[in-house]
């Protein structure tokens, strides 16, 4: 178990179909859940940090409630069993008590709701996006596009167990991961080509449905370089369990280098005829 716990593996970025030239091998941290994990994965985005901090507060309140009720139940079992207390009381009303146990939960809920709504508005908000990427769900793979960068577009397909390479975790690895720069406000547009899928990355606090016929928008800013793993989170048919999300977070410089090679590999070869473009431009005036 120990060696699986913190597997720092040498991760060769030639995974990306040889498109990425970063000067050979790079040490990459893998961010995913670990055996016997009981809580969240380490938060690695501003949203995730706030989500996890809020949950820590909530967990304390909830644990206190559960322990309180358990305590009362234990006391009742000890004190009010038929041997210890042969004659039952006949009390069936206490207005003050009833008011208290209505009001106190309301106060607790207000204490929860205020930071909860603050968190909601924070995670929703798209800051001035420095980069836009587009994610399209398909049965059963993801298509990633970089509309800001000459329409780089590629599919990201699950690697079956018998084709895994050294260091690739089972069920989570893809042939071409989504490459993103760290410390960048990234706007993510989500669409679907068939059924509803869900693009999810636990360590980044990222999750949103891809729905056919509409664009959804969310955002992320990644704190740490490394490889992030997630899975499709909406039942999307037979191979729902086998369309993982893999994000390769790299430095801004490495990202720009990757863009150059990726544009050659995946960029669109402009198929629009000049004539129509001119026609369109003429209409526009």
């Amino acid at each position: 178990m120990g060696d699986m716990l913190k597997r720092l593996s040498v991760f060769v970025l030639t995974l990306m179909a040889g498109a990425m030239v970063l000067g050979g091998e790079v040490m990459a941290q893998q961010y995913r859940s670990e055996p016997w994990q009981m809580g969240f994965q380490e938060p690695r985005s501003p949203s995730a940090e706030r989500i996890f901090a809020f949950h820590d507060m909530l967990l304390v309140i909830e644990a206190a409630i559960v322990i309180f009720v358990l305590g009362i139940m234990t006391y009742i079992i000890v004190k009010f069993n038929s041997k210890a207390n042969p004659t039952p009381s006949k009390t069936s009303h206490n207005t003050l008590l009833e008011v208290v146990w209505t009001i106190v939960p309301i106060i607790i809920l207000v204490v929860i709701a205020v930071p909860s709504l603050k968190l909601l508005y924070f995670t929703d908000r798209t800051y001035d996006p420095e980069l836009t990427i587009k994610v399209t769900g398909n049965q059963w793979y993801w298509t990633y596009e970089y509309p800001d960068n000459n329409d780089i577009e590629f599919d990201s397909v699950y690697v079956p167990d018998d084709e895994l390479e050294e260091g690739q975790p089972r069920m989570l690895s893809v042939d071409s991961p989504l490459v993103l720069p760290v410390d960048t406000n990234i706007r993510i547009l989500l669409a679907s080509n068939d059924v509803i899928h869900n693009f999810a990355m636990p360590a980044l606090g990222l999750k949103l449905d891809t729905t056919p016929g509409r664009a959804n928008e969310t955002w992320v800013s990644i704190n740490d370089e490394g490889t992030y793993y997630g899975m499709c989170s909406e039942l999307c048919g037979v191979n729902h369990g086998f369309m993982p999300v893999q994000i390769e977070a790299v430095s801004k410089e490495a990202f720009n280098e990757w863009l150059v090679s990726a544009e050659e590999e995946f960029g669109s070869n402009d198929s629009r005829s000049d004539e129509v473009v001119k026609f369109a431009a003429a209409l526009g005036q």
Binding site: S92, S116, P169, A200, L235
Partner: protein, 528 residues
């Protein structure tokens, strides 16, 4: 009076029954059959998930069908028939002092519609690839394009029949409770179980027609070229989700409210005390019913709702904690100062409160839209709703069974064996579902037949829990069989001074006809 026990012949009695007790018995039998099928599916799922990799189910469509059918069976064919059709039919007329239900023949139709629905669902599961849509049946996955063939259509028809059955049953209960109470049995004197069934019936009546409408739209989308939910025809798949959850959220209260009622009866009986804060308890159930209709989109936080909508649904959902809190505290206050006999039904009541509190606080967690990015569609959600709704309801059903079986068949269960059964089941479900909180927080999605190796540990534990639960279930079946065939015969009231409701005033087993002379409750103390 002399023909109290005059019963018709076998066929007429069981196939054309208009007697509320016989129909109640039929419902309970149907529920047990469906529970064995639905339970077997869940154990098979846990067997596959015991270890990473694919062991037994290499057809993933079949896996999805198992997940879907398990949900449908447990909701529509196990919990609802047992609680509402079974205990409701048996004990609502007995508790309010009515000779039978208001519409006895309608009651018979309700049952046989449900039986037909169960058969249709089984056929749907065996047709073509089966419906692998999840019990939520979201289009476009459930559309003709992604689920061709008749399986989904048959599933829709099955739900239509089950829905019609429940609507007719609900109308019957409301009419019975409003019109047929014995003299002096005022609304505010009704036992809480009757209150629970009344509120549940109203929820059924308002929620199920919406499901029926939505299912019909889905059916015509699939077969007759309409485009209610089909994007390219101008429809919107999200409209389905709104309609489905407008039904679906009240549906979870339909499941748990009768459980509240049963637990209230048990707690009061074995504490030998009247219910603490009776009116608060009754109106808390009404409040839960009302609020249940305005929180549906908390199931849809991740579909792309705008932020103000999510903020509203977060706030509205948190409000539910108040009336449910009132119920928990009232049960505890009822026990407080009591002289408690720890008979098996009471153990199940304690177990219920534990499950409901744990599931309740995780519900508060899930209510927060801002955090749903780490919880939506993970095993945390699976753990939450099994605790708060599914297993809690099963506990209330076991509790209700042990509480009332003597009244239903005139023979008492074996207390020692039943206590063992309780402990096996209690340990089993907690070992089964508590670790799923951990897998879910670590990020494991629901509805997948295989999982990354890191989740292996807690999944193994969870599967062990499932097998303990299975042992508890079979022990229950054995106890039920022994009770009915050779249990000790008992008198009208086996529970003593705490059992104050009207069903304990008639013989055990309850005669074929009861309350033909209406009991006069005028001037009696409030119920409980």
């Amino acid at each position: 009076m002399a023909h109290d026990d005059h019963k018709p012949g076998f066929f007429k009695r069981w196939f054309m029954s208009t007697n509320h007790k016989d129909i109640g018995t039929l419902y309970i039998i149907l529920s047990i059959i469906a529970a064995i099928i639905g339970g077997a599916m869940s154990w098979y799922i846990r067997l596959e998930l015991m270890e990473p990799g694919i062991q037994y189910i290499d057809d993933f469509q079949f896996y999805n069908v198992l997940v879907t059918a398990h949900g449908f069976l447990m909701v529509f064919f196990v919990v609802m028939p047992a609680m509402i059709g079974g205990f409701g039919n048996w004990f609502v007329p007995l508790m309010i002092g009515a000779p039978d239900m208001a519409f006895p023949r309608l009651n018979n139709i309700s049952f046989w519609l449900l039986a037909a629905a169960l058969i249709l669902l089984v056929i749907a599961g065996l047709t073509g690839g089966g419906p692998g849509t999840g019990w939520t049946v979201y289009p476009p996955l459930s559309s003709a394009e992604y689920h061709p063939g008749p399986a989904v259509d048959l599933g829709i028809l099955s739900l239509h029949l089950a829905g019609a059955s429940s609507i007719l049953g609900a109308a019957n209960f409301i009419t019975t409770i409003l019109n047929m109470r014995a003299p002096g049995m005022t609304i505010h004197r009704m036992p809480l179980f009757v209150w629970a069934i009344l509120v549940t019936a109203f929820l059924l009546l308002l929620a199920l027609p919406v499901l029926a409408g939505a299912l019909t739209m889905l059916l015509t989308d699939r077969n007759f070229g309409t485009s209610f939910f089909i994007v390219e025809g101008g429809g919107d798949p999200l409209l389905w989700q709104h309609l489905f959850w407008f039904f679906g959220h009240p549906e979870v209260y339909i499941i748990i409210l009768p459980a509240f009622g049963i637990i209230s009866q048990i707690v009061s009986t074995f504490s030998k005390k009247p219910i603490f804060g009776y009116l608060g308890m009754a109106y808390a159930m009404c409040a839960i019913g009302v609020v249940g209709f305005v929180v549906w989109a908390h199931h849809m936080y991740m579909t792309g709702l705008d932020v103000d909508t999510r903020a509203y649904f977060t706030a509205a959902t948190l409000v539910i904690a108040v009336p449910t809190g009132v119920k928990i505290f009232s049960w505890l206050a009822t026990m407080w100062g009591g002289s408690i006999d720890f008979k098996t039904p009471m153990l199940y009541a304690f177990g219920f409160i534990w499950l409901f509190v744990v599931g309740g606080v995780t519900g508060v967690t899930l209510a927060n839209a801002g955090m749903d990015t780490v919880f939506h569609d993970t095993y945390f959600v699976v753990a939450h709703f099994h605790y708060v709704m599914a297993i809690a309801a099963i506990f209330a059903m076991f509790g209700g069974f042990y509480y009332w079986i003597g009244k239903m068949c005139g023979r008492q269960y074996n207390e020692g064996l039943a206590k063992i059964q309780f402990w096996i089941f209690f340990i089993g479900v907690n070992v089964l579902f508590f670790p799923q909180h951990f897998s879910g927080m670590a990020g494991m999605p629901r509805r997948i037949p295989d999982y990354p190796d890191a989740y292996a540990g807690w999944n193994y534990v969870s599967s062990i829990g499932a097998f303990i639960t299975m042992a508890g279930t079979f022990l229950f079946l054995w106890i039920a069989y022994r009770t009915v065939t050779s249990g000790e015969k008992i008198g009208a009231n086996p529970w003593g001074e705490g059992a104050t409701t009207l069903e304990w005033t008639v013989d055990s087993p309850a005669p074929f006809h009861t309350h033909e002379v209406l009991p006069d409750m005028t001037g009696k103390a409030p119920a409980e």
